[in-house]
Each structure stands twice: as C-alpha cells, then as structure tokens.
Amino acid sequence: MARQPEGPPPPPTVQKLRIRYAKRGRLRFASHRDLARTLERALRRAQVPMAFSAGFSPHPKISYLGAAPTGAASEAEYLEIGLSIRCDPEAVGAALDAALPQDVAVVECVEAQEGTGSLADRIDTSVWRVELPGVALADLQPALAEFLSRDVVTVAKRTKNGLKDIDARASVTSASAVEEAGCAILHMVVRQGTPAVRPDDVLAALTAVADLRPPLPPRAVREAQGRLDDTGTVADPLGPDRVASTRCQGAHATI
C-alpha cells in the first residue's frame, strides 16, 4: 500500500489575496524563478498563514501571473495567494512588504472577491516605458514612425529551441516617443500573446526597420498590466475586487 502522510490533511484555503508588487533597481535582474523563491521565503518570514497543497511534498498555494522578463523592471506584477486563516489584506501586504528585499515592494494587496472572475482573465496587455540612454529623440521618432507604418516586422527571437522568427509589430497597439533629461523614452502598449513580444523584440524591430542602434543597454519598466478596452485604456486588474470589497464593507456598515 502506498504510504500516506501522517496526520490530518492540510487546512483548506479560506481566503484568496491578490497582490500587485514591483521589482525595481538591481532586482530587475532577478528572473521569475528568483522572485518566486524570494516571495515564498518572505511569506514565511512574514508569518503569513499560507494554505498548502496536500501530499508528501506540500507547496504553498501561490499563483503567479505572466512575469516581466529578466532585466526588465516592473511596477505591476501580480500574484494570488491562498490563506488557511482569514487575514486583513492590508496587514498581510504590509508584513510581506517589510519582509521583502528593498527592491521588491508590495504595491497593493486586496481580497479576491467571489464572483468577480479570475485575475488572469483581467490581464492581456502590458504598458511599457523604455529608457534609451544615448539615443536622441530625433533618432527615435522617425524609427518609431517607420515601425508603426508597417503591418509586419519580423525579428529573430532567442528561445529555448534556438532562434525563432516572430512578428514584433502586430502586438504593439500604440507607441510614442518623448524625451526626459536628454534621454529618449519609448512608451508603448503591447498585447500579451504567444509568442510574447517583449521590449527587446520591439527594439530589435527598430534596428531592423531604421537601423536604430542604442549605444547602451536600454532599461525597460512595465508600468501597468490589465485588460485593454476599446477606448485604448488598460483597466486596473484589481479594480473589480476593490469595488466589490467597498460594496461589501458598505453592507457591513449598515448592520
């Protein structure tokens, strides 16, 4: 007979929290796996009562949504955790934030509200800001215009299975160029899909169409994620939980 773990099964999930967090500064060089390990250890240090999967190799219930690439910073990463004891979301957010390295910060922590749907369904687009040190706005603007005028721009993307050609154009729903403190900045809204088009791919496309070659490595920051609506606005994915929770608190107040 197969051996069973001794003792009772782990306590069930009684509450789900959705967390928006940022990776900044030096920790933009952390990979998704690095961040996952860091978050799990920080949750333990913060003594958050995580729910665990059953079996001989119990794992804390955490699901990560599409992670920003290694080397890119982000102000809008999302994850969902399952708790075995109900907690105040704000207190969990604060405790986790205190336990995380300085360059990883909890931006917001809300309770997942019943009937509001999954978090993954609320995210299909990224908003990027890419700093291009050493590139003049006068060079970026025409390159971007050329890129946007095309229907398809094929670039080679490095994948696990070698180089693969992808279209970097179709996923870019809008883009603009500005200048800040003498540095050209590329703002863009990019739909998430498979294969994913990342800032590096768009920059490779600018090289392909206009021979734009940044002298220094660009620095990308994901500023937001969410669902792109018909007006071109990216909706806050935690919005529905926040709205439902306010309503809920309102109901409590009347009791």
Binding site: R3, G7, A30, R44, P58, G71
Partner: protein, 640 residues
C-alpha cells in the same frame, strides 16, 4: 578615493550576460558598511561560481564574525563566469565585491576559502581581473594581502607563489587576530612595508607565510629540506582550533540568495571534527577533536536562523551527524517543535546504520520522505577494513532494506574506487550489493518502484591522512573499474533498471591529486594552465585534462619530476612531504602506523568511546574532546 561603487559601470554589462542576478548582491542578511568607518577591509572570496560559493558555511561565518567588529568591514566576491569576465576586461571593470560593488584591489585583505584544490585557477583569474599581480613577490604595499584558508590550505605549497599567507584550521578567531595586526600596522604608518606586515602576520598563531620558508630539492626530486629564512617565524606552523562551539553560533543570520544555489536550505553545524578515523578522509583528520554544539545551542540556532531566512529546510551539518551524542533527542524534539509548519529537517549522508533510518524517519515526519543517502565508501568488507569504515555486508543490506520498508523510495550509496590495495573484485562487490539491496527492498516494501543510486568517484590521497603516502590509482585504472562495475550492474536488466550509476571519470581526480599533494614546483603548472585559458576546473564543461597534462609536462619535466611522480608514486616513510612543516597536530608516526595497519586491514576505534590512541592532536594543540550529552532538552516554541 577608494571603496567607491563600480555598480554604474557594471550595470550596462549585466544586461548582456547569463544570470545577472548573481552579481547584484543585496541578499537578505547581507550588509554594506561605510568604507571609511572601518580600519580594516576584507574581501572574502569563494573561488567558484556564486551558486556554489554563496551557501559555503565557512565564508558566511567569517563574513558575519568580521562585520560584527566595528573596526572591520567584510564583503564577498565570487568567481566571475567567462561571459562577464570578457566584458569586464573589454570595459576596464575590475573584480568587484557583490555587496558594495567595490574593487577587490581597494581592500586590505583578500581571503580565499579553498574547499577544493580545483579552485586554484579561479584565484589567478580573480587576481588578474582585480588588477592585483598574480605573484605575491610582485605585490607592493598598496595591494591586498592574499590569505588562503579552508581545508586545502593545509597544503598551500602549490599556490605558495600566489598567496601571501595561509591560515590553518578554524578561521573564526584567526581572522580577528589578523585584523588586529593589519590595523596596528596601518595605524603606525605601515612601518617596514609589506615585508614587515607579513612578518608580523607570520607570528600570528596558525598563519603560514610561505615566503619565509625556503624549499630545496634532492637529486631524486624529493624535498631535501624546508628551512626558515627568518628566525622570528615558527619552525612549524600549527592549526587553529575553536573550542566551545556554543560561543560561536555563526552564521546567526545566514545569507539568503535571490539566485538559485546548490543548497536551497539553511545549515546548522551541529559539531565540528570527527574521530571515526576513516583513513581517506582529510576533513576527519585535520579538524580533530570532536567539538559538539549542545542540543540547546542547536535549537536556538535553528530557531533564529529560520526566523532570519524564511527557509523551509534545515540541514543538520557535520562530518557524521548521526554521531552527535544527543542526536536522537535532537531529531525528536526539533520535529516536535516544527510539526505542522512545513519545515523539513535533514541530515547529510550518514554512516550505514539502522539507527540512522530511525533518525531520518523522525526528521522527515513533517515533510518529504524522498531519498536517503548512506556512505559505505568501500565496495567490499575487506576494503572497508582498509579504509577503517567497517560495516558488514549483511548490516548494509539490512539497513537499506529497513529504509525501503519505512517508505523511502530512493536510497543513494556513496562509494570510492581506486582505494589503496583495491582490486577489480572489491569494486565489483558494489554491483552484488546493489542487486541484493533491490531484491530485499522490493520484498520488504512490496513495491517495485524503489531505486538505488550508486554514486562513485575516484579516490584522491590527501595530505595529513594515513593515505598521504599511497600511490593514487591512474585515470585508466579508475575508468577500467567503473566500466566493469557498469557492466556488472547491467548484467541483469530486471534488477539493473532499478539501479542508477553516477560516476566521474578518472581524469579530474588525477589533477586534483597533483594539486593536493604537490609542492611549490606545481605552482608553475597552475600558472601555465591559467595563462592558457584554464578556469572553473571543477566544472566538466570547462575542465581540460589535456591542458593540464601538457602544462605539467612542459613545467615539470625540466625539473626532473612529472605528473606520475606526484600522483601514482608511493612515498617512503623517510620522504619529507611538502606539508611536513604545517602541523595539523597529528603525529607523523601515528599516521605512518595507521597506514601500515590499513595495509594489514586492521581497524582503529573512535576515541570518543574508547581510550585515546595517541593521534597526537589534543596534546599538541592543547584541545580536548567536547561532547555531551548535556541532559538538557528543547522546550516547545511558543505558538505564533
């Protein structure tokens, strides 16, 4: 201005390389002190990749011990992978510390911990990247003092051209003494320059300064004499020994990397030293006597460490953890404390003993029961008597079967081949043993999906052990024995498919042998290999046997010796060994007698439980065995 951060110059390079996270620092529990606040600056290096070096306990301990001193500052540096090293050279970015990203060249001392000799080329690479002359003789007052430590420092002769000094034994107190000397010398305006500083260091207990000892060679190639060149340095340098481990509860706040490392767990050293007397084991010989941490000391280190790190696994570390006098109680009480917290406890590989299965069951009560590792080391009962790790075949099979019966699916067995007096038959017994273990295990567990993994590597004779005189087996011998073993295991597929064989070919062991028992003449070989591009020798994809043999041929032949002379040649009792002036406390006569007894297949007992057999360590070093039981126990932690 020194101590400036190089990060702004490094950052653009990080965007272009693999796993940049390993170079950014900022690990939990790391620290960056203001440069000017400290009188003495230490860069501590583990000469291998970050993922291997970060979990190293020795380095972590010294990092914390030094940083606790208000007058000292310690930062860490690791071997840089070739992708970044190339960019650093192109862009003029020198070897840096991961904490403050300060140039290694700016530090007063560079401490390098050699757990294995295969890190030597990485030291040369780091010195060169740092802009520090690789030869100690070429350095001036402005360069860091390069200090070697770790087990390999018990024979630092092969790297004596590159290091300024070596510390023998435990480093906790030695680094403090060295800091004091450097601080005073700097405060006095650096009198006498580097030469005077090194002379002062040579008078610190446990510090060996190679330049103050001259080595001459006889016509047979062996050492004729080792003589002091100054009369104010010791004739023989003795090792340091930290007594009362409870007084040294380090690391108190272990480093937690963001990057993946080879040990994704926290470690607590439950005792230091080992007197089991396994004759191949350098660690067991040079770290005597046994000094236990008490059960309560261990309990509080586990508690503090988990709080400080958030790790989900704790390894109870030592050379033979099941030998702790309070281990049974410790396992039970720790498991009780952490019940229901998803915290797992583990022991490293243990001796073959049914009691150790009970222990492992207890420790895994709260977590996984995936794999268990035993280290019989020798394939036959005869060879196990030679190495003094006696266990009968019946006991071995019974122990492993018990493990399967208790729900362990996977048992790993560690062996060595190429041991003194070994024949093919000794190694072939490993196959018999594995087959029997699987048969008995299937029966006892009622499962067919149990597995036994045989992990085997070539034996490398080490200094300060009874086998220091032995002829090392050639790479061909090792490879032949591994081949016949593989064939024997695969002879019966119905059983063989449940047995995994993991092995390393014999070539790297030969080079490790050259570096382990080499003398100062081997330094030229190391330098040539590095100049020709050799580094990361512990990594099979970087190690080049041909480069090493060609360099050995070119550098050693003119001196009348060769690779075989250093490796496969048996030494005589009279020969002056390169490390004879470095004192681990073991009497050379005791070691020789033990070597003779090995050849006669005679066992020697453990002095913890039988009378002292005069290995020499305690009286020479003024130390004593420190073991329990203490009679104390771990009270449950207050529930959070």
């Amino acid at each position: 201005m020194t101590g400036e951060t190089l990060y702004p110059r490094l950052e653009p390079l990080l965007a272009q390389i693999q796993k940049p996270i390993q170079y950014v620092g900022g690990e939990l529990n790391s620290q960056v002190k203001p440069w000017d606040a400290a009188a003495v600056h230490w860069a501590l290096m583990y000469p291998d990749a970050y993922e291997v070096g970060l979990p190293n306990q020795g380095l972590m301990i010294l990092y914390e011990v030094l940083n606790e001193r208000p007058d000292a500052l310690a930062e860490r540096t690791y071997a840089v992978w070739p992708d970044l090293a190339g960019l650093m050279r192109e862009n003029g970015v020198p070897q840096f510390t991961v904490d403050g990203h300060r140039a290694v060249r700016d530090f007063d001392l560079l401490g390098v911990s050699f757990a294995t000799e295969l890190g030597y080329t990485n030291l040369l690479e780091a010195l060169d990247l740092a802009g520090v002359p690789i030869l100690a003789a070429d350095r001036d007052d402005t360069h860091p003092v390069v200090v070697a430590g770790g087990h390999a420092a018990f024979n630092p002769e092969p790297v004596s051209d590159f290091v300024d000094c070596a510390v023998l034994g435990d480093g906790e107190q030695a680094v403090g003494d060295i800091t004091d000397v450097v601080k005073a010398w700097k405060a006095q305006g650096r009198p006498g320059g580097r030469e005077e500083l090194l002379a002062r260091l040579a008078r610190v207990d446990g510090v060996y300064v190679p330049r103050f000892y001259a080595v001459s060679y006889g016509p047979d190639g062996a050492i004729a004499a080792v003589t002091r060149t100054r009369d104010d340095v010791p004739v023989k340098v003795g090792k340091r020994t930290v007594m009362d481990l409870d007084e040294w509860p380090y690391p108190k706040t272990p480093l937690v990397p963001l990057a993946e490392s080879v040990h994704e767990r926290m470690s607590v050293e439950i005792f230091r030293g080992c007197t089991r007397g396994c004759r191949f084991c350098q660690a067991g010989m040079i770290t005597r006597p046994v000094r236990e941490r008490t059960i309560t000391g261990i309990g509080s280190m586990v508690e503090q460490g988990l709080k400080a790190t958030g790790y989900e696994e704790v390894g109870l570390l030592s050379l033979s953890s099941a030998d702790h006098s309070e281990i049974g109680q410790l396992a039970k009480e720790l498991a009780d404390r952490y019940e229901g917290t998803n915290t797992s406890l583990s022991l490293p590989s243990t001796r073959v003993d049914a009691f150790n299965v009970t222990l492992a069951n207890e420790l895994s009560r709260n977590g996984r029961r995936s794999g268990l590792t035993f280290a019989p080391e020798g394939g036959s009962e005869r060879i196990r008597r030679v190495i003094n790790k006696t266990v009968s075949k019946e006991d071995l099979v019974r122990t492993v079967t018990t493990a399967y019966a208790n729900g362990w699916r996977q048992v790993k067995l560690y062996f060595m081949c190429g041991l003194p007096t070994e024949t093919d038959e000794d190694v072939l017994e490993i196959a018999d043993l594995a087959v029997e273990v699987i048969k008995a295990g299937r029966e006892a567990s009622g499962q067919r999906d149990i597995r036994c993994t045989v992990s085997i590597g070539g034996f490398v004779p080490k200094p300060h052990t009874p086998f220091q005189w032995a002829a090392q087996a050639s790479a061909e011998t090792i490879d032949h024995r591994l081949r016949v073993l593989r064939q024997a295991i695969n002879a019966d597929r119905r059983i063989g498919k449940s047995i995994g064989l993991r092995y390393h070919d014999g070539k790297p062991g030969v080079i490790e042998g050259l570096l382990s028992r080499g003398d100062r003449r081997v330094g030229r070989v190391i330098e040539r290999v590095w100049r020709e591009g050799g580094k990361f020798d512990g990594w099979s994809e970087h190690f080049s046997f041909d480069r090493w043999t060609a360099a050995a041929e070119a550098e050693l032949t003119p001196l009348g010796v060769d690779l075989d002379w250093f490796t496969t040649r048996e030494r005589t009792e009279q020969e002056i060994l390169p490390w004879d002036h470095l004192d681990s406390g073991l009497d050379k006569e005791f070691l020789w007698d033990d070597w003779q007894e090995a050849l006669n297949e005679e066992e020697v007992a453990d002095c913890r439980w039988t009378p002292c057999y005069d290995c020499g360590v305690c009286p020479t070093m003024g130390t004593e065995i420190q073991i329990g039981p203490t009679g104390r126990s771990l009270i449950p932690l207050t529930v959070v």
